[in-house]
Assembly symmetry: C2
Homo-oligomer: 310 residues x 2
């Protein structure tokens, strides 16, 4: 993975994605004693960065019959959107007991949801069988160079926007689940601004990335972790993303569930932005680890697909 691949991805996806704004907030800066640059990826098409990776991959496929994915989250919507751009069908495999809201969200973007007899345990096998049957192209949510290159486009934009603003980040904080976003952003940042730190953030109850990087090998959680941050409930880093993180990420910060909730609350009340729990992970890390972080920080608000409650 190098910068050229990320630039190539940007050229592919640019017509179909937003260059999301880099927001600032005097109130947050005052409250936390930092200069924060908020990469507003909750304003991306489909409400999260996943549209970048899905499109980056989908736009390289030669005449695909359809797109197939396993996801009950933002990747489902990213793939559904990519399929719409290509003018083909999207088929999303989701466990039967996934929330009706998540099924509805994927359908709202035009995808077909396949959930008959699907469980968390058998969903990969079901997807493989469907792939054989339909001939659709399978899009992995993170462990694919073209997907990682797509997520890396966010890092390119962030650095360009920060440069124009004259507040260059000393560290970039990014949520870590399977590692696709972190790998892409780290590749962009380390190529363009080698002295800027790249720090991953994960819930303390789902700290497999931190432990894996310490151990030097991929450690796997025994079961899906309980955390508000449902975008990072993945069991482990990927075979493709792990070595990139090992080479390019400077550290992983664990955060408590309380800090995630407080970060969501601050973004809601102070910046009036709807950010989902996973997207609030970087701000949660500032709340819990601010004292040992540098002054100017870029936070990746990765998505905004949070339920509405009146």
């Amino acid at each position: 993975m190098d910068l050229a691949e990320i630039y190539a991805a940007l050229r592919r996806i640019a017509p179909y994605t937003h260059r999301t704004p880099l927001l600032t907030s005097h109130l947050l800066d005052e409250l936390l004693g930092k200069r924060l640059l908020l990469k507003a990826e909750h304003l991306q098409k489909t409400g999260s960065f996943k549209a970048r990776g899905a499109l980056s991959k989908a736009l390289t496929l030669e005449d695909p019959k359809g797109l197939l994915a396993v996801s009950s989250g933002n990747h489902a919507q990213g793939v559904a959107y990519a399929a719409r751009v290509l003018g083909v069908k999207a088929l999303i495999v989701m466990p039967e007991d996934a929330s009706p809201l998540k099924k509805a969200a994927a359908r709202a973007y035009g995808a077909e949801v396949y959930d008959q007899g699907v469980t968390v345990a058998n969903r990969e096998a079901v997807a493989r069988a469907l792939q054989e049957e339909t001939g659709y192209a399978f899009l992995h949510p993170f462990d694919d160079p073209l997907v990682v290159a797509g997520q890396g486009t966010l890092g390119l934009e962030l650095l360009a926007q920060a440069s124009r603003r004259g507040s260059f980040p000393e560290a970039v904080l990014v949520p870590v689940g399977g590692g696709g976003l972190a790998a892409g952003v780290a590749t962009a940042v380390k190529a363009l601004a080698p002295t800027t730190l790249v720090l991953g953030v994960e819930p303390e109850g789902a700290d497999d990335a931190r432990r894996s990087l310490e151990a030097g090998r991929i450690l796997r959680l025994a079961e899906a972790p309980r955390t508000r941050a449902d975008g990072v409930r993945t069991l482990s880093l990927g075979a493709y993303t792990f070595p990139i993180l090992k080479a390019k990420v400077d550290g992983i910060l664990p955060v408590s569930e309380e800090a995630i909730l407080e970060a969501e609350r601050l973004l809601h009340t102070r910046t009036k932005q709807v950010v989902e729990p996973t997207g609030a992970l970087p701000l949660a890390a500032v709340l819990e680890h601010g004292a040992r972080l540098p002054q100017t920080l870029a936070l990746v608000l990765s998505g905004g697909n949070r339920d509405f409650s009146p």
Copy 2:
């Protein structure tokens, strides 16, 4: 009230307020079959347009000892902020049983909350007594030319921003409570774009503005109406605002509580913006009356001070 007074207000308040953005949303436009221009006043200082009116008035006072207001809503925060700008104290009269959250919000902006023995019935009398005692200047939430001129600055900005975007609004929709915002915006719009309609929006259970304009005199609600839109729970239009509305507002649209909730939900899920119920009134009017509204509409999202619920 004329355009010159609004321009003068703009020169006073510009250093201390945001020129809030004019947002658009492809998703909402597609869903509703309209071109919507969203004046994002939830991103204003203090989270609502009330900062404009409070500052417009406060900055004309000669050496005030402090500012005094009756409010358990956004006006309290606007006045508290204006006092901070002037470097004087703010004293806010609120009923003892007002929500602790609202008291905390006013205090967070540096105001002192006076609530001892205060009820909805006696709060005006308490404020008058406090005014005598302290010598602080009283700031009315809407029935004051300098406050109306301040709110009108939002209309000036909106028209300038729409012109640059090349989508000029055929109608501007604005929430109506006491009528300060509607009077200011209508004055600006009718002076600069006389063919653009100005439409007020109020909850159907609080339709005193519609009935007053029909009757040709100020009708007063018997008691504070029950509505999600707590920013427009005022009992009547003001003696100053009523004739302006009568001369310059083209109509008042009533909306149901269900439409207000749905409008909040759409703004939350589609635009990822936190808008309070009152700020969602104009979109609620598009949901309920869209068929008889023109194609290009400017909606004033008047504030974003909505409770955070996890």
